[in-house]
Symmetry: C2
Subunit: 113 residues, 2 copies
């Protein structure tokens, strides 16, 4: 990257990278039932997990893998109107593994910082 | 992605995404002094933060932004032999901000999960 990139940009890049993986976990955790993208985002925002359109809910996100990709278009913006299906039993298993991974990372990072 | 992708792969993709951002933070936290990539990785591994070559220490990683990009090639593999410079005062400021971001995400995610 260019040397002219400023510290704010550096921080933003790292911040976005840090949040991205956490957001997938947060999204999956909310899919015990089917949810509209909009209400899901609102619920996460209210719990302090700011979620941008076009990241965790975008079709390119790993959180939108087949087990959550069942969606309807009801006009309007795709990420606003998408209906994310509830996790299948396989999806729930993946969520469980991912939450365990999070706890493990958490423990290590708390020790390191 | 293909429907044929199995759950193990889905989990791995999400796991890698989750770890990636955390690794950058872990790497930065270790750069109070200059460190060789190899010893840095070893130190993080010992604290339970497994770190693959070619992720957090790769030249493409945000953790290898200008403030840490001062490195020597001493033969052997670049990621093994790279000498990462100590954080500048600006780099330290970014680390501080990123650690605060981590605490904030952590708090939210603990509430959500």
């Amino acid at each position: 990257m260019s040397q002219s990139i400023d510290n704010h940009e550096r921080f933003e890049n790292l911040r976005l990278e840090l949040r991205r993986g956490c957001l997938s976990l947060a999204v999956l955790s909310q899919l015990k039932t089917e949810r509209y993208g909009y209400t899901l985002r609102k619920a996460l925002n209210e719990q302090g997990m700011e979620i941008d359109e076009g990241t965790a809910l975008s079709p390119a996100s790993p959180a939108r893998e087949p087990w959550t990709s069942d969606q309807r278009m009801e006009g309007g913006r795709e990420t606003q109107q998408a209906l994310l299906s509830a996790l299948s039993s396989e999806g729930k298993q993946v969520l469980k593994q991912l939450a365990a991974e999070w706890q493990s990372i958490n423990k290590s990072l708390n020790g390191i910082l």
